[in-house]
């Protein structure tokens, strides 16, 4: 029998599992049998279980403390190179993610209107039967390309990809175009690899271009940078905001948004025109230096000074200092740099800067990647041939964008336009496109065009809230994922506690859905442990051994301290100039592209991470909420005063695509021509009882702009006006008023 439940009743139902979990009380369920079997626990059930964090994509090693058979604490695993024994605040809060009272613990089927939040509980059989029937109906009527699949980078992604490629759809959405497409495509074009590894062991001089490592924490890299600063390494930091990284940097340059490219072109100009580069390295290992030299001839520091707002002599001095540090210098490629459509050119300039001082093998190394030929995998047939075009235009409009990166905002736009064809279904896993994509109104419009939407997540994020079926995934402390190679080891994520309710691992969900879709051959494993055993088979190591240690040693891998002087580019060298870019009609070398500027009275809208939250996923975590600042709109204090605005005032922020209401933070810590809004707030889902009503979403304001080379979304290329709200009834509830609808 099915019953309709209101949201309040639904939450009551959801709360049944967690009735004992009053706020602040943690009474986790008993420890997983798998962990018990690992031999790490004594008879009383006390001990420590190694696993892997999933509070962001850095994936630190963790050690879960188990007491009386219950998990009571997470600590960093000293043996894992990403944690080095530490966890950041998000990693420390991981228990609260698993024990969030808002967890969805049973499959849900929508009964109300989309976005109303009315669902009923279902069994896995019913939910998977419904999902597979809808997917097969869509395939039969419109072809497999009418199903869109999207998921954010995670360890079970290979099985997600099996699902979509075996189904036969080319339409794959990842979050990467909202993040680091420009950096990845630039590195591929320059170095033939996605992202060379950085080492801070010998570094003497660092330029960080908007890489706010003290707040956008990657635990080991934040640790390494901090220790480099401690031993006196010079850090030059470019950012329009005085962030916590700026506070630690030797020199903070509050550069004008969108002009990092001009700064780096001028550095290249000085280093090349003054012959300060490493000529041996350039001659032996790079191509296109002459073309680069003649291009950057146009960009003297005086020119860059008028564009960036940084004095010419400062630029000249930094160029000389950087070159003097030589191979011990490091220009960090950042993840998004300045977030303008010229970010790709900026990344190319940064890549060239590293190359001409010859830091390869000293501060930059080949990346080890996340794949290892040493691990086995279940057998599977080849994927069916796909003839349909990808909706996001890759590669037919965007030839340089790798298929596995894609262009998410273009995919969304194609759904809205129905061009080149109309998709009808959307399968989403661990992703929140309603909040992450720019221009939320447009994303909601795309959702409205879908016949069927299914979301896999651990709670009702905004996207699940607007879905037809929600499949509850086990949290990262409750499940296995495939082994993940890091350096010369492959690390294990294993269940420390049994999944709560009916939550299931991604490995289980994709397999059971795949079988219903007639794609069982792509999921040839009995269960999660069987999958891992097949991965371990070539190594001759038992799963029990790996469970106890948390990792397995890989034979003959790891490149620490070694650097191969051969690159996977067309020329096998570092390409300062790219023939293929030139032939495709783009600039072969980094060159100046003028960014757009706000009209008088408008501001650049900046975005950027805080240390206590990960993108759009963690705002409901009570432990993080406890220690997060109230999300407010930063505005320069003097500008605020000129506009008659006081700290704490409610303001309306308007862009060409939306409006939000939020409280103002008047601060000296930002350029006068910018405002900043912390991302990830302004949730629409009332199923997130901690996060709902807190802050405002910058995605409501963001205008979609796609870089034609890399497909990157230019997140900072949105200009807003700010005005005071005379009557601010919102203040009573601290809720931002969502005006986008």
């Amino acid at each position: 029998m099915t019953t309709t439940v209101s949201r309040r009743e639904f939450l009551k139902l959801g709360g049944a599992f967690t009735a004992a979990l009053a706020v602040g009380q943690m009474l986790p369920p008993m420890v997983a049998e798998a962990a018990r079997q690992s031999g790490y626990l004594n008879a009383a059930g006390d001990g420590f279980v190694p696993s892997m964090c999933e509070m962001c994509v850095w994936r630190c090693g963790l050690i879960a403390k188990v007491k009386n058979g219950r998990v009571v604490k997470l600590d960093g695993n000293p043996e894992h190179p990403h944690s080095k024994g530490n966890l950041c605040p998000r990693g420390q809060s991981g228990l609260m993610n698993t024990y969030d009272p808002d967890r969805v613990l049973t499959p849900l089927i929508r009964v109300g209107k989309r976005g109303e939040g009315l669902f009923r509980k279902a069994t896995w059989d019913e939910a998977l039967d419904l999902v597979s029937k809808k997917m097969l109906d869509i395939k039969q009527k419109y072809g497999p390309e009418a199903m869109v699949f999207s998921s954010t980078h995670n360890i079970s992604q290979p099985l997600f990809e099996n699902l979509l490629y075996a189904f036969g759809s080319p339409n794959y959405g990842t979050q990467r175009s909202l993040c680091f497409n420009a950096m990845i495509v630039s590195n591929i074009m320059t170095y033939g690899m996605e992202e060379p590894e950085r080492s801070y062991d010998k570094v003497k001089y660092i330029i960080l271009t908007g890489r706010n490592l003290m707040e956008a924490i990657s635990t080991s890299e934040t640790h390494d940078l901090s220790f480099a600063i401690d031993r006196g390494v010079k850090v030059v930091y470019l950012d329009p905001r005085f962030t916590k990284t700026a506070a630690k940097a030797t020199e903070w340059l509050p550069i004008k948004p969108g002009t990092d490219l001009a700064f780096h072109l001028a550095l290249l100009h000085v280093i090349i025109s003054e012959n300060l580069y490493n000529q041996d390295f350039v001659n032996q290992y790079t191509v296109g230096f002459d073309k680069l030299a003649s291009e950057v001839q146009k960009y003297p520091p005086e020119w860059a000074s008028t564009i960036t707002g940084i004095p010419a002599d400062t630029i000249t001095r930094i160029a000389r200092e950087f070159a003097a540090a030589g191979k011990y210098a490091l220009a960090h490629n950042g993840w998004r740099t300045s977030n303008f459509v010229n970010s790709f050119a900026t990344e190319r300039a940064i890549a060239a800067l590293n190359a001409i001082v010859g830091n390869w093998g000293t501060t930059m190394f080949p990346s080890s990647g996340e794949e290892s030929g040493a691990l086995g995998a279940p057998p599977q047939p080849p994927f069916p041939r796909v003839s349909a075009l990808r909706l996001d235009g890759v590669p037919w409009k965007y030839p340089f964008v790798p298929l596995k990166l894609g262009i998410f905002q273009e995919l969304r736009d194609a759904i809205v336009k129905g061009d080149p064809y109309t998709p009808h279904g959307w399968f989403i896993s661990r992703q929140n496109p309603i909040l992450s994509l720019p221009d939320r109104n447009k994303t909601l419009e795309a959702f409205g065009k879908m016949d069927f939407i299914v979301t896999v997540d651990i709670f009702l994020n905004d996207t699940a809230w607007f879905s037809d079926v929600v499949l509850p995934e086990a949290s990262y402390l409750e499940r296995y994922d495939p082994l993940l190679p890091v350096g010369d080891k492959a690390f294990l994520r294993q269940p420390v506690i049994e999944p709560q309710g009916d939550a299931k691992s991604a490995l289980w969900i994709y397999k059971n859905l795949g079988e219903r879709l007639g794609l069982g051959d792509y999921f040839q494993y009995k269960d999660e442990e069987d999958y891992l055993k097949q991965q371990l088979a070539p190594l001759g190591v038992s799963l029990d051994e790996v469970k106890a240690k948390g990792y397995v040693q890989l034979p003959g891998e790891g490149n620490e301290g070694s650097a191969e002087y051969k690159w996977n580019t067309a020329s096998t060298k570092i390409e300062l100039y790219s023939d293929s870019l030139e032939k495709a009609g783009f600039a072969g070398c980094a060159n100046w592209e003028e960014p757009p500027q706000p009209a008088p009275g408008q501001f650049y809208l900046l975005t950027g991470k805080v240390a206590q939250q990960t993108q759009f996923a963690t705002q409901n975590n009570q432990l993080l909420h406890k220690y997060s600042d109230e999300p407010r709109l930063w505005m320069n204090a003097k500008v605020a005063a000129q506009q008659g605005l006081k700290d704490g005032d409610w303001v309306e922020v308007t862009s060409e695509v939306g409006k939000v209401h939020i409280r103002l933070l008047a601060t000296e810590a930002i350029r006068p021509d910018c405002v900043y809004l912390v991302p990830g707030y302004g949730h629409l889902s009332k199923g997130l009882t901690t996060a709902f009503g807190v802050g405002a979403s910058d995605s409501v304001l963001h205008v979609s702009y796609t870089d034609p080379v890399s497909g990157s979304q230019a997140l900072t290329q949105t200009f807003v006006s700010v005005s005071k709200i005379a009557d601010a009834p919102q203040e009573k509830t601290r809720k931002p008023l969502y005006l986008g609808e």
Partner: protein, 260 residues
């Protein structure tokens, strides 16, 4: 004599708050309480010449603790390792310790008749279980919080100041304050600027303790208790007239880290 100690370096703290979250998780601290705070200078100076320093702040674990002297029921005690422990089953909620502590560490819930405190006990249970460090020091990604033998921490503090006299002011906070503590701070800026309590501190805890326990405490703490409870009840009365406002206050109270 205290066996363990902390060295906290404000020049290394990045205000990530991993220590605050770790402490809450390790000690199951209620969502409305915290055992660690962030003390900060705020953003100082004028754009673009700006500075900002932060440091985590918790119980100093005094060598001669005023709170232990003030506690009439033995709820606060110093254990064999010099850790100031708190036994909530003995606490009668008198708030004497709150007045006695010159470091402003004990915090009470004013809305409860029997109010308890929640304070750092150096993760004493964790240490007894054989883990090497308290949760905060173990997780700090930048080693801004270091943990070890008290004497080693103090020596390290002086060594860092000696090696980098331009980086730190010449003051180890906690070495002499209140007669000496087991938590040592070094900082690029004076501790008043970081918001540390410095006015009530003397170098003689005995004098301070005598004052608080023999003369001041019963009278002053009694009046403070009555007064604060009265203020609380008055505020509560006001808030009840405006319940929506009350919701906002509650939400705000969850954030223990108020900015600027």
């Amino acid at each position: 004599m205290a066996k363990y100690g902390f060295l906290i370096d404000a020049s290394r703290c990045i205000d990530c708050r991993a220590c605050l979250v770790a402490c809450s998780a390790e000690n199951n601290v209620p969502m409305t309480h915290t055992r660690i705070w962030i003390k900060e200078t705020g953003v100082t100076g004028e754009f673009p010449d700006l500075k900002r320093y932060t440091a985590p702040y918790h119980c100093m674990h005094c060598v001669d603790p005023s709170c232990v002297s003030a506690c009439t029921v033995g709820a606060l005690q110093m254990n064999k390792d010099g850790i100031i422990t708190y036994d909530k089953d003995r606490c009668i909620g008198c708030r004497y310790c709150m007045y006695a502590c010159p470091f402003e560490v004990p915090h009470f819930e004013w809305d409860k008749q029997l109010a308890l405190i929640n304070k750092c006990d150096l993760c004493v249970n964790r240490l007894e279980e054989g883990q090497a460090e308290p949760a905060c020091a173990a997780t700090c990604p930048t080693d801004a919080i270091q943990f070890g033998k008290r004497d080693d921490m103090l020596a390290l503090a002086h060594e860092r100041i000696k090696n980098e006299p331009n980086r730190y002011i010449n003051h180890v906070f906690g070495e002499h304050e209140n007669g000496g503590t087991s938590t040592f701070y070094i900082s690029p800026v004076p501790f008043e600027e970081l918001g540390f309590p410095t006015t009530k501190l003397t170098e003689s805890p005995a004098e301070f303790n005598r004052m608080t326990t023999e003369k001041g405490t019963p009278i002053i703490a009694g009046s403070v208790l009555t007064g604060m409870t009265g203020i609380y009840l008055a505020l509560e009365h006001l808030e009840k007239k405006n319940p929506v406002h009350h919701i906002e206050e509650l939400e705000h109270s969850e954030s223990t880290h108020e900015k600027e």
